[in-house]
């Protein structure tokens, strides 16, 4: 088959919704990189000024601009892979470059080559490896997100239907959108990407907002280091995500839905494309779904490597083909989202909870938490524990139970020194604070956050200041560069954790806390607000290690 011409590619995508990313990927996949000629063709085809298009392309990690480009290996050097020898693997592969956490912390180290993720801790081991299926928890707590994920053939339409799939949609279509919103509101389901905004309230706001067409966006840009829950759900239960999106669309009056999937999950992208095709054939997507008046199209849009695109304003700008800076809020996406129209942006985990809630009821969902708390949270647990993986915990489960009973604790003879929360965004918890129950208010009380639910464990053999340095290097690398406190602050904090800055301890600490305070108070989005959690918690739990670092 001849490779498609420039004109073919532009014609394929020009009139599709959110065309920029797929068109760039089409050129990138064809040539292995984005040549100046290709960029000029895309600029003309989509009428985007060429300087802006060029600059936007440079924003993403994974758009190569010269050969060998896409075929050169990219090695994850995220916090967990670093513990497993990522630097040595990187050095051993010809032409390899590093990439931030690629979401395989439960089975490191991922290396992306072309459209394939290879897994292994040395060059000989590298091979395609499926995402581990989440294991059921040993205490027998009832699950929501993972309730049916282990059912036979669940990732296919037939298997999904056999285990109750799409009955929630059928049921909802016999009722009205307000009834569905009322049910979700009653369940007290809240955003599981980390923000915790009540889902029913968000949907109500989109339903109430004027302007059409409305959209549902599934945020699958799981870029937080130490988070790999969405990947597990998308690969093993893709139809649950689609059903959740269709329910969200029905509730909000949306006629189109986008899955914004991170670049680092190419196999997931292929699985989702298959799932969407199956669902379309079965009249679950498209016009007059299951014979009803409800019509909705679903699209996959693949990111290109940018942590900030998990922030909903950046994500929407990225979808629209704009430079992916966060947006000023208000207005919020519920009124001014994709193309400035009402949009419900929901995390993967939130959306897959919806069909279960529709089938089993609001009261059932509320009852899943412990001691009066509502619902469950998937925790991606990795690092120095014996059984890393995705665990669905009832809110309120003690962190220690998860670490020791469920995940087997650290290796024999080792102690847990600290864990990071919310991936890296919540900073460290250590000492007595490891007794905390897993729910957002309890974790907040201890100066951290639960966020998207990534927890990375570091035992007492690890240099905790160096872990903090790596974390801050990540935030500095991923800062979008728009707002001053984050752009300069993450850089200065990284320098100070790398041996730069004042050598007098008190002066060093004052600089760290002054920068951190300004970042927390004045940053334009969550990245800059959260990054100082790392330094704050380092100073709180590890003053001796800090003193040693500064004075040596």
């Amino acid at each position: 088959m001849n490779s498609p011409t420039d004109e073919d590619l532009v014609a394929n995508w020009r009139d599709e919704p959110a065309p920029l990313l797929p068109l760039l990927h089409a050129f990138h996949d064809r040539d292995g990189y984005l040549s100046e000629e290709s960029i000029a063709v895309v600029s003309a085809g989509l009428k985007i000024p060429i300087a802006e298009l060029f600059a936007t392309i440079t924003f993403y990690h994974h758009f190569a601009r010269e050969a060998p480009g896409q075929s050169a290996p990219r090695v994850c050097t995220g916090p967990i892979c670093a513990l497993h020898g990522a630097d040595a693997l990187l050095a051993s592969l010809d032409g390899a470059t590093p990439m931030p956490c690629a979401g395989r912390c439960d089975g490191p180290i991922p290396v992306i080559k072309g459209q394939q993720v290879l897994i292994g801790t040395n060059a000989e081991e590298l091979a395609p490896t499926a995402s581990p299926l989440p294991v059921a928890n040993p205490d027998g707590y009832e699950e929501c997100v993972f309730a049916d994920i282990r059912a036979e053939g669940r990732s296919t339409l037939a298997g999904y239907r056999q285990s109750g799939g799409y009955t929630a949609l059928q049921q909802a279509l016999t009722q009205s959108p307000p009834e569905l919103i009322a049910l979700i509101t009653d369940s007290q389901l809240a955003g599981r990407g980390g923000a915790g905004f009540p889902t029913g309230q968000k949907w109500q706001a989109v339903a109430n907002a004027s302007g059409e067409p409305k959209s549902v966006v599934c945020n699958a840009d799981e870029g937080e280091p130490g988070c790999f829950k969405d990947r597990a759900v998308l690969e093993h239960d893709p139809h649950a995500v689609l059903e959740g999106m269709l329910l969200a669309a029905f509730a909000t009056g949306s006629t189109r839905g986008f899955i914004y999937l991170r670049y680092e999950y190419p196999e997931t992208c292929a699985l989702l494309e298959t799932a969407i095709a199956e669902a379309r054939t079965a009249n679950l997507i498209g016009d007059n779904i299951l014979g009803s008046d409800f019509s909705c199209e679903l699209y996959i849009r693949r990111g290109a490597g940018a942590y900030i695109c998990g922030e909903e304003g950046s994500l929407l700008n990225s979808l629209e083909g704009k430079h992916p800076y966060p947006r000023n809020r208000p207005p919020f996406p519920v009124t001014h989202g994709f193309e400035d129209l009402p949009t419900a942006v929901n995390n993967v985990e939130t959306l897959v909870s919806v069909p279960q809630i529709v089938r089993r009821g609001a009261e059932w969902y509320r009852s899943l938490g412990l001691d009066g708390r509502v619902g469950t949270k998937v925790i991606s647990l990795s690092g120095d524990v014996q059984r890393p993986g995705n665990y669905e915990v009832p809110f309120g489960l003690p962190l220690k139970t998860l670490l020791y009973q469920w995940a087997g604790g650290p290796a024999a003879g080792r102690q847990i020194q600290a864990v990071t929360m919310a991936g890296l965004s919540g900073g460290f918890l250590a000492g007595e604070d490891l007794d905390a129950p897993l729910d957002e208010p309890s974790i907040r009380e201890r100066g951290s956050m639960l966020g998207a639910g990534g927890i990375m464990v570091f035992d007492d053999s690890r240099n905790i200041v160096d872990v903090a340095r790596q974390a801050m290097a990540f935030f500095a690398e991923e800062s979008c560069g728009k707002c001053f406190p984050c752009r300069i602050g993450t850089q200065r904090l990284e320098e100070r954790l790398s041996g730069g800055g004042p050598t007098d301890l008190a002066t060093w600490q004052t600089e760290i806390t002054d920068i951190g305070s300004a970042m927390k108070a004045t940053s334009a989005c969550g990245l800059g607000m959260a990054a100082p959690f790392i330094t704050d918690s380092l100073l709180k739990y590890f003053p001796e290690q800090v003193a040693q670092h500064v004075q040596s």
Partner: protein, 360 residues
């Protein structure tokens, strides 16, 4: 006042003040002469919210809000100055100072080039804290004659990018990369002359640090006389852009667009901005001249010169007819002179052969 004229109220620093729908907290505060510091703000551009210096306290909000991007709503209680907010502003300015080679720059660099220096003085922010790597990098190879791309002084406020897109419509520049390594660039990180830049100079004039600087004005940096500004009107086309002529002693050294110019509101084109050398050029005629019998040009008085020209036109008309006369007016002439010129050609000689170089 909004178009529907409805006024709302909020509390600004303890006083109830009126505002119209759509106004931002910054606009209201500015109207009440609150001195809120900014670096990424240019009143002509869409608010961007990058520098965060304009944060104010808003009752009920967890964090201070950027006043430039926050639209006022009735009943808000806003404090433009408080101890924490002033401290954040100072810290932010110390951080900005730490990323640049220098803060104090020659005012010849551009209209807004003193903004950072003035703010750091006001907040006593040149403390030397937060030392570390510099952010921007000088574009050393761009040898265009007009715009010095001294990104060592760049603070990534994006005012240049925004003025180029929003005011000029050129979209010639953009910000590449992320984070601290973000750089202002052109397509494919090339030279301005290979981009869609028209060298209007608006990016230079909105730059708050002098990172984009007027190369022609900087030729006069070493002249000892004080810098003076004289309001005038651009002598080129008929738009009538207001300009401030920059001079040192008797020498014209540069042009600033007048931000309050009714026709241009701070905009100029490449000619109005940079093409002023003719004014004091040695080749410029300052007296009428006629060619003598020796074949050379000689200075003379206006009567002699005009008589010679009239005589030449009359002879040509008589010998070759009315279509042998063709008039072309200079693009620098105002409308009134252009009108006179076409009357002169059409009515004076009865031909329609009249044009203006601006049409080309």
């Amino acid at each position: 006042m909004s178009s529907n004229g409805i006024q709302h109220q909020l509390i600004l620093d303890g006083e109830e003040v009126n505002f119209s729908a759509g106004e931002t907290l910054y606009e209201i505060a500015e109207r009440h002469r609150k001195e809120i510091p900014t670096l990424c703000y240019d009143p002509r551009l869409e608010p961007f919210g990058a520098c965060r210096l304009c944060v104010v306290e808003l009752e009920g909000a967890r964090n201070p809000v950027a006043s430039c991007t926050t639209k006022a709503t009735a009943g808000m209680v806003v404090k433009t100055q408080s101890e924490p907010v002033e401290k954040y502003r100072k810290t932010l300015l110390e951080m900005v100072v730490s990323e640049n080679r220098e803060v104090e720059v020659d005012p010849l660099r551009g209209y807004a080039s003193q903004e950072l220096g003035k703010l750091t003085d006001r907040y006593q922010a040149r403390t030397g804290r937060f030392k570390g790597a510099q952010s921007g990098q000088l574009h050393a190879t761009d040898d265009n004659p007009f715009i010095f791309r001294d990104y060592d002084l760049c603070i990534s406020c994006n005012r240049c990018v925004r003025v180029c897109a929003e005011q000029e419509g050129d979209h010639a520049i953009a910000a590449m990369g992320r984070g601290f390594h973000k750089q202002i660039t052109t397509e494919f990180n090339g030279l301005l002359k290979d981009s869609s830049c028209t060298f209007c100079g608006q990016c230079v004039q909105t730059c708050p640090t002098g990172a984009l600087a007027d190369k022609k004005a900087l030729r006069a940096a070493e002249l000892p006389e004080p810098l003076q500004k004289t309001r005038s009107v651009c002598p080129y086309c008929g738009v009538g852009c207001s300009v401030d002529l920059l001079s040192k002693g008797e020498k014209l050294v540069g042009i600033h667009p007048a931000m309050d110019g009714p026709a241009n509101e701070g905009a100029l084109c490449v000619k109005g901005q940079f093409a002023f050398d003719f004014v004091q050029h040695t080749d410029r005629l300052s007296m009428p001249m006629v060619r003598g019998d020796d074949g050379e040009l000689h200075e003379t008085d206006w009567d002699t010169a005009l008589d010679r020209a009239a005589d030449g036109f009359a002879k040509t008309l008589k010998k070759h007819g009315r279509h042998s006369i063709y008039g072309i007016a200079s693009g620098r002439t105002p409308s009134e002179a252009n009108y006179t010129m076409q009357q002169f050609i059409r009515r004076g000689y009865g031909t329609h052969y009249i044009d203006n170089c601006s049409r080309a």
